[in-house]
């Protein structure tokens, strides 16, 4: 049976198991004179039997599927004569591909070594076998499990608690999914970065002042030897983030203060959703706004003032990124300002302070940790932002803090390094992972600090 059909079959069996479990508990209830004499409601008994039937068999299915390919390949490999036995991973993959294609008929068998033809035939056979084996096994486990669950039922059985436990485990599994994914990403990035640092010394990467990742693809090619100093990229990232924050922090904070302290409920009910919509605009839209509207504007203005401005300036990207981040900051700051207890305002007002004195001297200081936390979160967003800088900041890795110059950022370089055909073990490509790792660490650190700060702030008023 095909795997998908098998899963459907298991589901049907579980449904049947539910029905039988339900019926049996009903039977118990009749004997005892009512459902209230059972430990749990009949649905729980049904669910418990269904879980006994479905859970072990599905688990078994997934475990077997995970190992099926490896076992089959091992078995195939043992039948391959020594002279064509693969010596490297690349050769091994090639060989397996070939056998696969022969087996599926995508490759004609003419002029192919008989050993390979044998292997292809074996492959089909093994697949077939394993499929049958698996079907039988899963059905057996499902039937057995279901029967076991049904057999062990009694009126005193704590079915409700058991189902509850399994449900909790299932929720935990879902919750850990995201964590494991992050861990997986981190591990893969670390792994590739280590490969990069085998080719390029870590000190050059961290402290080198020049970034030009062009390496010779063939040994005889005349070309750059490649230099991987990440300082210009990080400087560029910081420059643009800094410009963005100088726009976003004051504007976001002011609008939050206005919304939280001055705006009437009518204005608030209109402005707040509007700001949230702004936060939902795709960054690519901001990107072309930056590249096609803001950048030329800045260039023309600058030129008319006698400044030399490149058409892809850090200023343009930073300004637009700042606008993008305003709603982020204002909504976070709005929340923390609103979280400052009303009694704090009353205390200040009752002392004869004006509204703005109260805001400046009591509310902002009280909300400051939360605001700082929000700003740090915003910084890590600015650092990780990609689309706007790809479109508006440029590619030249200049070591400069002049906002009118072209700079490039870490994210832009990662994109350009990985777009298009790449050789996956060249230093050039691998450097993207090293950059990614650095970016990950920086934003992780920022987020960690930010969350700590915000948490500490929350505790203050509890």
């Amino acid at each position: 049976m095909q795997t998908s059909n098998l899963i459907i079959a298991l589901l049907v069996m579980s449904a049947l198991a539910y029905f039988f479990g339900y019926q049996r508990s009903r039977g118990f209830a009749r004997q005892l004179g009512g459902v209230s004499n059972l430990h749990s409601l009949p649905t729980y008994y049904g669910m418990r039997v269904a879980l006994w039937c479905g859970l072990p068999s599905v688990l078994l299915l997934f475990v077997c599927l995970a190992f099926e390919e490896t076992i089959i390949s091992k078995m195939l490999l043992s039948g391959i004569p020594d002279e064509i036995r693969p010596t490297s991973i690349a050769e091994y993959n090639l060989l397996m591909n070939k056998i696969e294609n022969l087996a599926s008929g995508a490759l004609s068998s003419e002029g192919v070594k008989p050993a390979l033809l044998d292997a292809a035939a074996a492959l089909g056979y093994l697949r077939d076998m394993s499929q049958r084996l698996l079907t039988g096994l899963a059905m057996l486990v499902a039937g057995g499990g279901g029967f076991w669950g049904w057999w062990r039922m009694s009126a005193q059985l704590r079915a409700r608690q058991q189902v509850e436990k399994i449900f909790k485990g299932f929720l935990l599994l879902c919750a850990s999914l995201a964590i494991f994914t992050t861990l997986g990403i981190l591990l893969s990035v670390i792994f590739e970065s280590v490969r990069f640092f085998q080719q390029v010394p870590i000190s050059e990467f961290l402290f080198g002042l020049e970034w030009s990742p062009q390496t010779a693809i063939r040994p005889d090619q005349v070309g750059g030897s490649g230099s991987f100093g990440a300082v210009p990229l990080f400087l560029g990232t910081m420059l643009i983030s800094f410009i963005a924050m100088t726009v976003a922090v004051p504007a976001g904070l002011m609008s939050a203060i206005y919304l939280a302290e001055y705006a009437g409920s009518k204005v608030r009910s209109f402005v707040k959703p509007a700001l949230e919509i702004l936060a939902g605009v795709p960054t690519v839209v901001y990107g072309y706004f930056a590249a096609l509207t803001v950048a030329p504007l800045i260039r023309d203005t600058g030129t008319s003032m006698g400044l030399s401005v490149t058409s892809e300036s850090a200023l343009a990207a930073g300004l637009v990124m700042g606008i993008m981040i305003i709603p982020f900051i204002s909504s976070l700051a709005d929340d923390v300002i609103n979280a400052v207890p009303q009694t704090m305002r009353d205390g200040s007002l009752a002392l004869g302070a004006t509204h703005s004195e109260t805001i400046k001297q009591v509310i902002i200081p009280a909300a400051l940790p939360g605001i700082v936390g929000g700003v740090l979160l915003a910084v890590s967003r600015a650092i990780g932002e990609t689309m706007i800088v790809v479109m508006a900041a440029g590619l030249a890795a200049n070591l400069t803090v002049n906002p009118l110059d072209t700079v490039t950022t870490v994210t832009v370089q990662i994109v350009t390094l990985l777009v298009g055909d790449q050789e996956f073990d060249s230093a050039k490509t691998l450097s993207a992972f090293a950059l990614g790792l650095m970016l990950f660490l920086v934003t992780l650190g920022l987020n960690y600090i930010a969350l700590r700060v915000v948490k500490k702030y929350r505790e203050q008023y509890e």
Partner: protein
């Protein structure tokens, strides 16, 4: 189940017993002595509305100089609302409207010449829950004087802070830790800090809205002592849920019921021989 039903009937019949004594369950005029000679605060025909809902109905009340007056009554009867009309804290509530005449000595509290900032400097307030600012103990007390420019120099400011803390009975406990956060004090100390904060700008009147309801009995006793001391220099209006407290600290007691001022009398009289049926019902614990 049956106990609950019984309870319900019991309450219902109690309400009926009120209806059967009609002469004094409908509040016509305040009984007792609501008016005094040469008052500090004079309220006439005072009404307060939250939107369309009236919370205070035509109250006439005088508060004497250096008097401690207690306001009691069931929850939601408008004690806080009336208290907050005196320093115009109701201004900060959306949709709240006040009518009637309010005088602080000769000055019209709601008059166009009255500056809220100046009014609140003359009428201080202590709230139900201690609300120190998240600043140091020193800065909490220095906040008011700084805003009103009461101190010409750092030395003067130090003096004001020290005096206020002393008068609030907190100086001995905090003089070595003035730079530590005020939020780190115990509840009772925080409330005394708030009192020090209120008297730091030398107000004439101090309004206290259930100042002890979040405190333990020892801290409460400490605050009550303090109120007695403060009465020498200030006029104090205190809202309280504790009748013992009202009896201990106040000269006169005002009993509020559903937004109306039912009875104002010497505190002792209110608690021994109340004039009004509703007052009697309240102090004997028939409802609350």
């Amino acid at each position: 189940m049956s106990a609950l039903t019984m309870n319900l009937t019991a309450t219902a019949s109690e309400e009926n017993s009120f209806d059967s004594a009609p002469e004094q369950t409908v509040v016509e005029d305040t009984v007792g002595f609501p008016l005094v000679d040469d008052p500090k605060i004079r309220a006439r025909n005072a009404s307060v509305f939250y939107g369309d809902k009236q919370a205070i109905f035509n109250i006439d009340l005088d508060i004497g100089k250096h008097e401690v007056i207690a306001m009691i009554g069931p929850s939601g009867c408008g004690k806080s609302t009336f208290l907050r009309t005196i320093n115009r804290m109701n201004d900060t509530v959306d949709g709240c409207r006040v009518s009637g005449e309010f005088l602080l000595e000769e000055d019209n509290i709601y008059g166009s010449k009255m500056d809220v900032v100046e009014l609140r400097a003359r009428v201080g307030m202590v709230f139900q829950k201690p609300n120190p600012f998240p600043k140091s103990i020193f800065d909490n007390v220095a906040y008011g004087p700084k805003i009103h420019g009461l101190a010409g120099s750092r030395v003067e400011l130090d003096e004001i802070v020290e005096n206020s803390l002393k008068r609030a009975g907190l100086w001995a406990e905090v003089k070595d830790r003035l730079q530590q956060p005020g939020t780190g004090l115990s509840g009772g100390q925080q409330q005394r800090l708030c009192i020090a904060r209120a008297i730091s700008i030398s107000p004439e009147v101090i309004l206290m809205d259930e100042p002890c309801s979040a405190l333990d009995p020892i801290a409460t006793a400490r605050i009550e002592e303090l109120i007695a001391e403060l009465a020498e220099n200030y006029t104090i209006v205190i809202v309280t849920h504790s009748m013992q407290q009202a009896a201990r600290v106040s000269h006169r007691t005002a009993y509020f019921h559903l937004g109306k001022l039912v009875e104002v009398n010497e505190t002792e009289k209110v608690f021994t021989t109340p004039e009004h049926k509703l007052t009697e019902a309240y102090i004997t614990g028939r409802f609350g």
